[in-house]
């Protein structure tokens, strides 16, 4: 009966299209190599709001408004919102959804949240349950730092391999008409935990989960790295990216020339960002502002986007647990002739 499932991989019968999208980022992300590609760069972390949490919501709200505008979509054109973020009880997403009269599904996969939501949104379209879904996700350096680590006012010092949470939000509308990019397959990952317990080293914790999902995707579709122009991971950073290359090489999969990482790219060339960016904002903004333009231009034809998530919490860290991780993969392709 599950005619669209092979192993862990869903093959969409009617591949949903990304109709429109928008990415908004903070000041520091705006200084990076993709600064001019984002739709909106805020000049301060509070975005004119009274708290960082309200600022994060404002970012998502702007991204959604921009994406809907680009697709000429009104709220009544959208059947379902799917979104999440890194804050406790995904309050950014919940409070955002309060302002829109659209049915809402909250999802949580840490920094894999965007890809989880995109895969679900695409499946609901292909399954005949919706004609248009809007997927969004966000992270914010200041809200994440005070929740996951220490209040910034403490001035804590960090190891050089630390990653920096991206301040950014992305919104994507999926549907049948318009756009030049489509989603053709999705692989949902299992939770993998090889025992890394340093919450500053999430790249190393997540790399095995990314490897597991990529390998499974290749097995299910009888493909390999040669079938993709690019494998784009979420937020492994430089350390996790190197580890992923090694892990895949152990399985005779050479991805060194094919692998890039949203977190490693977003702050590239800037000083003081350790191993790069992290947070679901990395994937949520780089998919739209870096990847889709390269697909639209024809430079890339088929890309495997691999959202990576570290499923820890400050409570589990204090209770001496290691860090369970997950990765979900999505094939993003230029529409032939599109």
């Amino acid at each position: 009966m599950a005619e669209k499932l092979t192993g862990q991989t869903i093959v969409f019968q009617n591949p949903p299209r990304i109709i429109s999208h928008a990415s908004v980022v903070g000041k520091d992300e705006g200084k990076g190599p993709y600064g001019k590609s984002f739709d909106l760069v805020y000049d301060n972390a509070k975005c004119g709001k009274a708290s960082w949490e309200k600022a994060e919501k404002k970012m998502v709200s702007d991204a959604i408004e921009l994406a809907m505008g680009k697709g000429s979509l009104a709220a009544n054109n959208i059947d379902l919102l799917i979104g999440g973020d890194l804050l406790n009880q995904i309050i950014t997403a919940n409070f955002l959804a309060r302002d829109l009269d659209i049915p809402f599904l909250g999802v949580y996969g840490a920094c894999a949240t965007l890809v989880e939501g995109m895969a679900l949104g695409a499946a609901l379209l292909d399954g005949g349950f919706a004609d248009c879904t809007l997927i969004f996700a966000s992270s914010h350096y200041q809200t994440a730092e005070r929740q996951y680590r220490t209040p910034l006012e403490y001035g804590a010092q960090y190891p050089p391999y630390k990653q920096w949470t991206v301040t950014g939000a992305g919104a994507y509308t999926l549907g049948w008409l318009g756009g030049e990019v489509q989603l053709t397959q999705a692989t949902f990952g299992s939770v993998i935990d090889l025992g890394v317990n340093d919450p500053n080293d999430m790249g190393s914790a997540m790399a095995p989960a990314a490897a597991d999902t990529i390998i499974q995707h290749f097995i299910d579709l009888q493909r390999g790295p040669q079938d993709y122009d690019l494998i784009l991971s979420g937020d492994l950073g430089e350390v996790g990216k190197s580890l992923l290359i090694e892990l895949l090489l152990e399985k005779n999969l050479s991805v060194k020339k094919k692998l890039q990482d949203c977190g490693a790219l977003i702050f590239k060339g800037l000083k003081g960002y350790g191993a790069g960016g992290s947070g679901v904002g990395a994937t949520a903004t780089m998919l739209g502002s870096m990847l889709i333009p390269r697909l639209v231009s024809g430079e890339l034809k088929r890309v495997l986007l691999v959202g990576t998530g570290a499923l820890l919490s400050p409570v589990t860290v204090k209770q001496n647990e290691s860090i369970p991780c997950i990765a979900h993969a999505l094939t993003v392709e230029k529409i032939p002739g599109g």
Copy 2:
């Protein structure tokens, strides 16, 4: 194209069945009127573990093991796990999924999480993306209380309309063969916030969201209360339940004789439980241990299950935000001749 969507309501073409299920609860829930119906009652809040958080995970683990056993299902029979809970970063669900080598999707809809997951799990089956999904959710009085309110050791006093978080976990396998109950429609709700800002009064906050989704469900399917033997809400408690009856009466929908609430029922007759139970554990345990047996016996034929969620966090309460709420509805029916 969205041939299975009417308004906000999904109509399953091939209604997925609940193949097997299990509910486990804490000591106090075991003393309530449904105490003998649960599959397992723990005699202490730590379930033999070192922390309440680990205890909550143990409960989910037991519920899943029992549900899989009753359905004669092994991990490799299950295509997808979908689950969530009330803890920050849904750590119960994430750490549970770590122990199972099954693809996992984390969801968060506060106390509507179970119904959100069931509706998604059913849609993925009907869409051809899975043959078997396992949905789970949990809450735990001690873990929730110290996270959302104050550490129990402080001995805080509460208003009489307060609800008490249910210590309980439920697991449900959905598929095509076996079972006597099927899921025929699902209505995903929008986020509603009428300005209630007392985190002890979540029943009043959630009732308008429940009313909105129920009304939408009736409009979409051209049905009314007369088409259901029972409308079962999640965790409105006695206060929220009364308010929901009033809100629906304003729309000429009389549900007084048709409406029951999992939270109001689970502690019924016990002293000291304010307006009743709350938490996703209420729905997650009462669906399996109270509702399904009444459907199987033929006492009920068609029920509207309405998961209700208050999407607040301690941070939003401190930032003087009111409480956004959501409700998702699922039609649960006895299989004709089943």
